[in-house]
Each structure stands twice: as structure tokens, then as C-alpha cells.
């Protein structure tokens, strides 16, 4: 799914989870839209802020859920991300795309929360895919793993595999997990991930490789 572009997602589109890389002119249109929204928010327009939330809520909630692994905690965290954005919008200097700044705030907030939760010995109580909402809500172009094989047993097998992937992903080192989510799930480009994480290009590539290898090793039993 590489190439999915967060900035290109309009409020309506964000509900249906796009999977196709947009053409450059659409991407720049999204950038223009974001810049306008930022300007309006800075001028105290709360409706602009709400619009921004609706555009990016699925992306940010998806990130926090995959990072934290608990829906309630992830929702609270995603809300916190947007509140931080509202508070810090005056300090946004407009360098690069707006959503890379948003994602940077989101990933830092996630890392801080993970540290905090570890200190409190927090355990994920609800697997990511347990809630029907997590199944895509029926509107998006979701192609579940179950659909690759027919029959009830195959469906159950596919669900087990999804649960295993979600679980093992949640057990990865947070730095590795973040890169897998940003690149392999949300489909951000290398240049966007570099801006979000502040890593050097070589470090990003090698760390991403190690993250994928770690996940592959954890899923070895399921891949046979």
C-alpha cells in the first residue's frame, strides 16, 4: 500500500480509507487546503479546527491504535494529539507538509504515552480487531485477509492471522512499530517519514528492515 497519502484525504474520503496514491496535483491541492485551514485556526476559527480533525481523525486514530493496542486509550490519545495541535498551531512554521507536523506530534505523543503506560504496568486489554468498528465499518475498500480463501474455516483462519499480526505488531519495539505503521500500513513515503521521525535516511532504511525482520520472525509460525 505504499503511496497512500494522508494529505490527499478529504473529510469524506477519510471515511472510506483510500488506498491509491494520488496524483501530484491532488496532493498539492490537499496542501493548499491544509494551509488555509491552519490560517483559519490561527485566526480563532473553531469550525476550521473541526474540519481538520475530521480530515485526519482516521489516520491519527489508526496510528494511535496500532501503537497502543487499546481502543479506549488510543481514542483518548488521538484526541490529545489534536488538542496539542490546536495549542501549538501558532508555532507551526509551515515548513514541509502540514500533516508531517501533525504526525510528528502524534508519534511523539504515542511514545510518551507508551513510556508512561509501561511505568504503570499497563496491559492492552482489547485486541485491535475485536471491535467491529476496527473492521473498517463496511464503507471502506477493505480487503480482509479472510476473503483470500473461501469457506467458514478459512474465514476463521484469516481472522486468527489478522489477530496474530496485530498482536505481534503491538509487541514490537515502539520505534520499529512506528516505522511499520507509517510505511507498511499508512503508506507514507520515505521523505515524509524522515520529516516525521527526524531520522537520517540510512538509519530509516536499516531500522525499517530490522523492524520487518523482527515482525517476520514473530510471525514465523503463521507464515509456514
Amino acid at each position: 500500500m505504499p503511496g497512500k497519502d494522508a494529505a490527499s484525504v478529504t473529510a469524506a474520503e477519510s471515511q472510506s480509507a483510500p488506498t491509491v496514491s494520488p496524483p501530484p496535483d491532488e496532493r498539492s491541492a490537499a496542501d493548499v487546503r491544509d494551509r488555509r485551514l491552519v490560517r483559519r485556526i490561527r485566526n480563532g476559527d473553531d469550525r476550521a479546527f473541526e474540519e481538520l480533525v475530521r480530515i485526519y481523525q482516521n489516520r491519527i486514530f489508526g496510528l494511535t491504535l496500532r501503537m497502543i493496542g487499546n481502543r479506549q486509550e488510543a481514542e483518548d490519545l488521538a484526541q490529545e494529539v489534536f488538542l496539542t495541535v490546536h495549542k501549538a498551531i501558532a508555532s507551526y512554521r509551515g515548513e514541509g507538509r502540514f500533516y508531517t507536523w501533525l504526525y510528528r506530534i502524534a508519534s511523539n505523543t504515542c511514545k510518551n504515552r507508551i513510556k508512561y503506560l509501561r511505568g504503570r504496568n499497563f496491559h492492552r486489554s482489547v485486541p485491535v480487531e475485536d471491535n467491529p468498528e476496527a473492521q473498517g465499518g463496511g464503507d471502506g475498500p477493505v480487503v480482509p485477509l479472510q476473503s483470500q480463501i473461501a469457506g467458514p474455516e478459512a474465514m476463521a483462519q484469516g481472522t486468527r492471522l489478522q489477530d496474530a499480526i496485530s498482536r505481534e505488531l503491538a509487541n514490537l519495539d515502539p520505534e520499529h512499530r512506528l516505522l511499520i505503521v507509517l510505511r507498511d500500513i499508512q503508506g507514507l513515503s520515505y521523505s515524509d517519514i524522515l520529516r516525521i521521525t527526524g531520522l537520517q535516511e540510512g538509519t530509516l532504511k536499516s531500522r525499517l528492515h530490522r523492524a520487518r525482520v523482527a515482525l517476520k520472525d514473530r510471525l514465523a509460525d503463521y507464515l509456514k
Binding site: 481523525q57 476496527a134 473492521q135
Partner: protein, 147 residues
């Protein structure tokens, strides 16, 4: 010969189609010579595909409403929002405050006025008249002391 770090970088970049033409060709020839590398690459591709096929996650329907409600609460609690918050308090609460304040002022005014009134209305000290009969019966009329 690449270091493990360089190999890792190359593998990621190859899987993500981020290698330039020459680098991609060089990596292709490496793959041709190494079945282990090919197997590793295939396994990683499989993992990437499985991860990419996880269902998309959607935020709850009322997510944006919750965020804006939290934002308003924070703005009310912030020092700069306190005055606005006071102004926007429900009318009933303001009415109660006004009524309580008026009642308090009225009571204070009453308390201040009462000693003066007591002083003004206080009857002069009275002594019984010189009526022996009345004095005996205990019903002697009183007459005011003349000051």
C-alpha cells in the same frame, strides 16, 4: 561486500522500490547469486503484504465532537478563557448569584440600621408612681424618668 547495515538499507529500499537504476541492477544480480537472500526477500514481502491488508481503522463517529468539547472545556479552564467563561455561564446561575448578592447586601444594610432603631425606640427608664395602693398590689403604673 556490503556491511550488514548497508545490506539492511539496500533490502528495505529494494522492497520499497526506492533504489536508483544502478543500485537496483546491482541488487538484482546479488539476488540472482543468493537463494538465501531471495528467500529472505520473499518472506519479507509476504509480511509486508499481510500487514498492508490489515483492515483500515476508523475513528468513532463522535470523535470530532469529543475533541471540540474537550477543547472548549480547556479554553474555559485556561486563565484567558476564564472571563469569557464567566460571561457565558447559564443565565440561571448568574441570576442566582445576583439574587444572593442582593440578599446579602440587604441583610448587611438591615444589620447596620437595627442598632440605631433600637436606640431610637428604646423607652425611657420608668419608675413606679408614688401610689402606695398600687405599689402594694404590684400594679403601680410607671412614669418615665425625666432627664
Amino acid at each position: 561486500m556490503n556491511s550488514p547495515e548497508q545490506s539492511a538499507e539496500l533490502m528495505s529500499a529494494y522492497l520499497d522500490a526506492e533504489l536508483e537504476g544502478d543500485e537496483a541492477e546491482a541488487f538484482d544480480s546479488l539476488l540472482a547469486d543468493s537463494p538465501e537472500l531471495r528467500d529472505e526477500l520473499e518472506d519479507l514481502r509476504k509480511v509486508m503484504q499481510l500487514v498492508a491488508e490489515l483492515p483500515e481503522v476508523e475513528a468513532p463517529e463522535d470523535f470530532a465532537d469529543k475533541v471540540t468539547r474537550r477543547l472548549r472545556r480547556r479554553q474555559l479552564l485556561a486563565p484567558e478563557g476564564a472571563l469569557m467563561g464567566l460571561i457565558s455561564l447559564p443565565f440561571q446561575v448568574l441570576s442566582i448569584i445576583v439574587i444572593l448578592t442582593a440578599a446579602g447586601l440587604y441583610m448587611m444594610a438591615q444589620l447596620e440600621r437595627r442598632p440605631a432603631k433600637i436606640e431610637r425606640d428604646q423607652p425611657a427608664v420608668q419608675v413606679p408612681v408614688d401610689d402606695p395602693e398600687a405599689l402594694r398590689s404590684g400594679e403601680a403604673p410607671l412614669r418615665p424618668i425625666e432627664r
